[in-house]
Subunit: 213 residues, 2 copies
């Protein structure tokens, strides 16, 4: 799909595709077979024009006036985002957050599977988390290379996160989801996304009137 354009698709457009996919999945579960760009837009808080423009980067997905076929568009988005396979994911950090992620039910049917869990705490190494045995971070580089893991989640304290990121990159990981509240320095070609609850809370307090203290 990406070969249709010489210009790369803007990252902000790419960032919206998973939201489209998530909404189409909900619509499919609700039994919808066709969805108008207006309805899709309403569910996403975007304009119909924005959705049509975003999707136009990747081809023609709907006839004017007849809406999108939910199953077809969903399949195409999965192809564009490389989700027709399951990605093995390394999870670094087996604390509370690591446990929550290892037990998170939302990965497997959306293209991901936590396949390895690492920690540097001798009390955690060897224990089972979400059906996986926690491995020492000393084994991380070799294991990630052996299994060609490209995707990792950092769920360690802020003070340890940069060192973990360096090791992940060194082992060939090029997509990192970071839960630690710091900005990571990574080389060009490595993608980092941040899970920062405060950014979302601050977005919402804009709309709140502060009560009297």
């Amino acid at each position: 799909m990406r070969g249709q354009e010489t210009e790369p698709v803007p990252d902000v457009v790419v960032s919206r595709l998973p939201l489209y996919l998530r909404t189409l999945t909900f619509l499919a579960e609700e039994g919808a077979e066709i969805v108008s760009s207006a309805k899709l837009a309403g569910r996403l808080g975007l304009s119909p024009a924005q959705i049509r423009k975003d999707l136009s980067h990747f081809g023609e997905f709907g006839k004017q006036g007849s809406g999108y076929q939910v199953a077809y568009l969903r399949q195409k988005l999965q192809e564009i985002l490389h989700l027709t396979r399951t990605w093995d994911v390394a999870l670094v950090g087996a604390g509370d957050l690591g446990h929550a992620l290892a037990h998170y039910g939302g990965f497997i049917d959306r293209g991901f599977r936590i396949s390895l869990v690492f920690d540097n705490n001798p009390q955690k190494i060897g224990r089972e988390v979400g059906g996986l045995t926690v491995l020492s971070t000393e084994l991380m580089k070799a294991e990630l290379r052996r299994r060609q893991i490209r995707v990792a989640i950092i769920a360690v304290p802020a003070a340890a996160a940069q060192k973990v990121a360096d090791e992940l990159v060194d082992a060939g990981v090029s997509a990192i989801l970071n839960y630690a509240p710091i900005t990571l320095n990574v080389p060009a070609g490595v993608n980092v996304q941040y899970m920062d609850p405060v950014v979302h809370l601050q977005h919402m307090t804009y709309y709140l009137e502060p009560p009297a203290q």
Copy 2:
């Protein structure tokens, strides 16, 4: 600040303000006093023009060619986002994720404090999490109203999340950060933000070439 315009600021602009604030905080910690829109843009992966346009909704924050004063712009963003006070936050769910959130160090100096923790599991009620005693969700409505809590985090399983959201809204909460992997139905005027790790992973796999399986 918001009174300067009759048109509401687009939500997509509001959504970027916490990212500006976070980056300015990093810059301040690095000792920067002035930052150019080009440098700020580089750190954020946006264009300088976008940043100037976003900020222009709220007033004049930099002289042409001289950059932004980091401390001043930071202060102004905190005012715009209503962060010059600390918001009490109710956390619903005292499982692994709830524990991780209760111990998360990134809230307090960014405008939020988890003040109440609820769970419906008798084995969790009365136990201490992050210095707070877990309360029964049966007390939730009364406690939230009494303390005028407006902001809540849902960290319960997907099957329980809608019921919790209904109760939060009924108790006067109008900003919900939802970690459960479902879309919540809430009335107009209630804001929901989603913490969905898969959306971020899918964004990154767009850029990955699938290895041979």
